[in-house]
């Protein structure tokens, strides 16, 4: 197989290493080296890590984070499996709509999303106020660690949904047909054939969910749960005066956990071959549902969608609400919030589309290249590219933002303005933060493609570059697109690093405009309106790309 180290591959690997070095490793290193020094003294030390182990609060936070992340993977799987299975495996009207809607929870605009959720599920949210009135009890949806699990599962299950669906679509139907010919059917067919073959996609999604939840700051803080690791790091790094090494120590621990997770998933997948050769059929055969099954399937899908989209319903209500306080529904409705933001928001929308689009493109290119290098070449140290890129998942946004200021603010452009004031720096920061999403998707897509296809192409005289262009990339399209969409959608609502790097209102994306509005009581409705606009933009982009996936499948001869 392709064991030759071609100069092209080496150049590619070096270019990626340089990119990661300049835009991820160096900026982050300028910040986290503090973790290895004692405050006041310059020397290197590991004493801070000992302190980490000796502090009850940190140890407790660590285990809380592990518990929450693991349980979130379980619940996110429960939500994602039926949606992915039903929409890819069966003749299901509205499958595309379900896929698009099922993705929306990932796009929860910062701050305003939290307010909407509190208004619906909080202690005195709509659901609990009604429960209290009718049945005299309340449910602590948003209490403590279980509240975090509830919200995180809703928020992040699309990672599993998208990757699993892409994987299911990629399974060769002849595998299923063979099993059917041998007498397998129904659930057994799914369990023994479809699910194992889709495992790379599931693992890609599940590992992302685990790491993302482990490193998420926003949701725990919205629920006022501070005894988890990522919030501990965030609170320490961003408090004035409490400027001690421990925040950075925790950041290092977070990054180590992220790398360990990726390493562990690689270990799980090791020695297993998920590639299938035949691509002619493309995707699982879709079965017709019997009427009773169909009713059940729709009931399940609608229930799940209602649950996971509830925050967005709340968001829409909030954006039209006059006053909404301690009541199941707003007091009245108005269009005023939309008129207020419409004037400001065009520049935000333009910037958001530009930044998120560019960032996601960078991510897909680099993510695809890393996946190719890791899975298809024998370059020494290629795994390190994967691991380095994966740490980006765990780098807190503020750390990356501060790192960028440190690394690039001293560098002047010809006209005297600092490099860090250019909007492209925001794009790079977002791209680095979202790179792992595209990388995991590309990785899973490539794992499902048999090397023999490329070998065949090369045997027929195609060069390596041509093989990649004509065989590998077309076959990876679904996975790459899943990666693009995930990166794009989440980049559109990225805030933490953006907040540090934005230099002027004219360069600001939507998330920043939202943040500015959400710091005032009068801005709540307007912030919600801006949030709805953000979600709509992403949803339209999502829907278009779903359309593209479907088209490409059709073009590959799959009868839908």
């Amino acid at each position: 197989m392709s064991s030759i180290r071609s100069p092209g591959q080496i150049a590619l690997a070096l270019a990626i290493a340089l990119f990661l070095g300049v835009f991820l490793i160096v900026p982050v290193a300028t910040v986290v080296y503090v973790a290895f020094t004692e405050k006041g003294g310059g020397g290197l030390t590991l004493v801070n890590f000992l302190d980490f182990g000796r502090t009850d609060l940190f140890v407790r936070s660590f285990w809380n984070s592990v518990y929450v992340s693991a349980m979130t993977v379980v619940w996110a799987s429960v939500l994602a499996l039926p949606l992915a299975y039903l929409t890819t495996r069966f003749e299901f009207r509205g499958a595309m709509l379900v896929q698009t809607l099922g993705f929306l929870p990932l796009i929860m605009p910062p701050f305003v999303g939290a307010v909407a959720m509190q208004l619906l599920f909080g202690r005195n949210g709509s659901v609990n106020l009604l429960l209290d009135e009718w049945f005299d009890f309340k449910i602590g949806f948003m209490e403590g660690l279980n509240g975090v699990i509830f919200l995180q599962a809703i928020h992040y299950f699309p990672f599993i949904l998208v990757n699993l669906s892409a994987a299911l679509r990629n399974i060769d139907r002849s595998m299923e047909e063979a099993a059917q010919n041998l007498g397998s059917h129904g659930l057994r067919l799914f369990r023994r054939i479809a699910l194992p073959l889709a495992l790379p996609g599931y693992i890609a999604g599940a590992s992302l969910v685990f790491v993302k939840v482990f490193d998420d700051v926003a949701t725990p803080l919205l629920l006022n749960v501070k005894e988890m690791l990522a919030p501990q790091a965030y609170l320490r790094i961003t408090s004035i005066g409490i400027d001690d090494p421990m925040g950075y120590v925790i950041s290092v621990v977070l990054m180590l956990v992220a790398v360990a997770t990726m390493w562990a998933t690689a270990l799980v997948m090791k020695g297993k071959d998920y590639a299938t050769t035949q691509r002619g059929g493309g995707g699982l055969a879709r079965r017709q549902l019997r009427p009773r099954e169909q009713a059940l399937a729709y009931a399940v899908v609608i229930f799940i969608l209602a649950l996971v989209l509830a925050p967005h319903v709340g968001l829409v209500l909030l954006s039209f609400a006059t006053v909404w306080s301690y009541s199941p529904l707003p007091d009245g409705y108005t269009l005023a919030h939309y008129t207020r933001v419409l004037g400001d928001s065009s520049v935000y929308i333009k910037n958001t589309l530009l930044y998120a689009g560019l960032a996601a493109t960078i991510d897909v290119v680099i993510g695809g290249a890393i996946a190719y290098l890791v899975l298809r070449t024998r370059l020494a140290g290629r795994q390190w590219l994967d691991w380095a890129a994966s740490t980006a998942l765990a780098v807190p946004g503020v750390v990356l933002g501060i790192g960028y200021l440190r690394a690039f603010y001293g560098v002047n452009l010809p006209d005297g303005a600092p490099l860090a004031t250019l909007w492209i720096v925001i794009v790079l920061a977002i791209a680095i933060r979202r790179l792992p999403y595209a990388l995991r998707a590309a990785y899973a897509a490539l794992q499902q493609i048999s090397v023999s296809l490329e070998e065949a192409a090369e045997n027929l005289g195609a060069t390596k570059a041509r093989t990649v262009r004509r065989v590998v990339i077309p076959l990876m399209t679904g996975g790459l697109l899943a990666g693009f969409v995930t990166s794009f959608a989440t980049a559109a609502v990225e805030l933490s690093a953006v907040l540090i790097l934005v230099q002027s209102n004219s360069d600001a994306p939507l998330a920043y405009g939202l943040y500015v509005l959400m710091q005032t009581p009068a801005g709540r409705g307007a912030g919600a309106a801006l949030g709805v606009i953000a979600v709509l933009i992403v949803a339209v982009c999502m829907w278009l790309s779903q359309l593209a996936v479907d088209r490409s499948q059709r073009a590959r001869g799959l009868d839908i």
């Binding site: 006041g40 208004l119 961003t238 421990m246 303005a417």
Partner: protein
């Protein structure tokens, strides 16, 4: 409308006359601020009108991010002004030599508002508006849960308020820090912490953003919030069913503005400060979305009838002279104590507080001397502090936070010690309280 533009014109003249020739080349003035759009937009508009040729470029960051930003970019500074509430953020910047001194030329500005000096004594930053702390509450929430309306801080420690109160952590909010410090200075270290912990036992949440408190009260997720006044006023302005009261012991704290060291447009920065302090600049503060207290006493003549006036209202005169030096010397210790004894020990603290409320209720029905004694012991255990006031300001403790040579232990070690101390005391207090409850019933 006409009156406003006439005023603006007048003020433009005033500003130009007041500060002379420095104004010709105002140009772009860049300001990093924690103030929201509701505040900055009207001021930007008025400033650009008053000083022709000037444009105000607003970079909105929260206070911490703003301080970090200025610190990180000092080598190549592009920012003219830092503009925010919390005086301690300015102290941090001043300590790191990131501000340059400027003495405003405007006259007629009060020396003190309440008991707090308006301007930095070294001239590195100037107060332009004041705000006071108090209690806000959601009327619908209070009515639905049949709760009382509070007047004083101590009210919040009473049984009916259990699990209904919210505050932001002093380590995260400069103004909350000042409130806690006011209580500590007003009542003394030990008694002050006792009061603070009594209230803390009733807390529903300790938020990590100042705005998290009014947000939760506005949407009815908690009943009461300890907030800075303008959060409540602007919430009322936005139509939320909330009320606000200044307790009799409150601090008025100035919101500040300061010129950043090596500002690219120093003249423009100074023009902005002069504008903020000018009569028209002060008057903008009265707008419903801003609602800050002007530092120019004469401006109150133009304020709506119910507007608080710190220069006239009895309850805003301030009972205590705030000792800024004392406060500054122990800032890190006080914030960390609050976090380790309260924020991260909230569950055990609430558990014992709940039982103590039940004991009190039972004792009211049928007195029991032994139970009363046990309850008092429990309260003393809760109130116990790991360090004294003197220790909090000692060089050893200070150095633990700054990394100085005198430190006897690292910050992480101190934190662990204090947390373990609190946990042990609260557990012991819970045992006493449980016993008291058994006896009292």
């Amino acid at each position: 409308m006409f009156r406003r533009s006439a005023l603006a014109l007048g003020s433009a003249l005033y500003v130009v006359l007041a500060s002379g020739a420095g104004f010709a080349q105002t140009g772009k003035v860049t300001v990093v601020t924690s103030f929201s759009k509701d505040v900055t937009d009207p001021i930007k508009k008025a400033f650009e009108k008053a000083v022709p040729g000037a444009t105000l470029e607003v970079q909105n960051r929260n206070t911490n991010a703003g301080v970090k930003f200025i610190e990180e970019t000092k080598g190549n500074n592009q920012v003219d002004l830092f503009w925010a509430s919390a005086p301690d953020a300015f102290e941090v910047l001043k300590g790191k030599k990131l501000l340059s001194p400027y003495k405003p030329k405007a006259t007629g500005i009060a020396e003190k508002v309440g008991s707090y000096p308006v301007n930095d004594k070294d001239g590195f930053y100037s107060g332009f508006a004041a705000s006071g702390y108090g209690i806000m509450w959601n009327e619908r929430y209070v009515k639905a849960n049949k709760l009382p309306t509070p007047k004083e801080w101590q009210d919040l420690a009473q049984a009916p308020y259990f699990d209904h109160v919210s505050i932001s952590a002093p380590s995260r909010s400069g103004t909350t820090h000042l409130t806690i410090e006011t209580i500590l200075q007003g009542e003394g270290w030990d008694k002050g912490w006792r009061t603070t912990k009594d209230i803390a036992g009733n807390l529903r949440t300790v938020t990590d953003r100042s705005f998290g408190v009014p947000e939760a009260v506005n949407s009815g997720q908690v009943g009461y919030g300890i907030v800075i006044d303008f959060f409540a006023f602007s919430s009322q302005g936005a139509g939320f069913p909330v009320k606000f009261v200044y307790p009799s012991v409150t601090t008025l704290v100035p919101a500040n503005v300061g010129v950043v060291a090596n500002a690219p447009n120093k003249a423009g920065a100074e023009a902005f400060i002069e504008f903020l302090l000018s009569p028209v600049g002060q008057e903008v503060l009265l707008e419903p979305t801003i609602r800050r207290l002007p530092v120019r006493p004469e401006t109150y003549a133009k304020a709506p009838a119910d507007y608080p006036n710190p220069f006239k209202d009895k309850n805003l005169q301030g009972l205590l002279t705030f000792n800024a030096e004392l406060s500054e010397g122990r800032t890190a210790a006080v914030d960390t104590l609050f976090d380790q004894l309260i924020t991260f020990q909230l569950e055990p603290l609430k558990a014992v507080t709940k039982v103590l409320h039940e004991v009190d209720a039972a004792l009211k029905k049928k007195d029991n001397a032994q139970a009363r004694a046990l309850a008092k012991e429990a309260r003393d255990l809760i109130a116990a502090m790991p360090i004294t006031a003197a220790q909090a300001a000692s060089p050893e403790i200070k150095a633990a936070f700054t990394g100085g040579k005198e430190k006897s232990s690292r910050q992480a070690e101190l934190e662990q010690q204090w947390a373990a101390f609190a946990k042990e005391k609260y557990t012991a207090a819970k045992a006493k309280a449980d016993e008291a409850l058994k006896l009292a019933r």
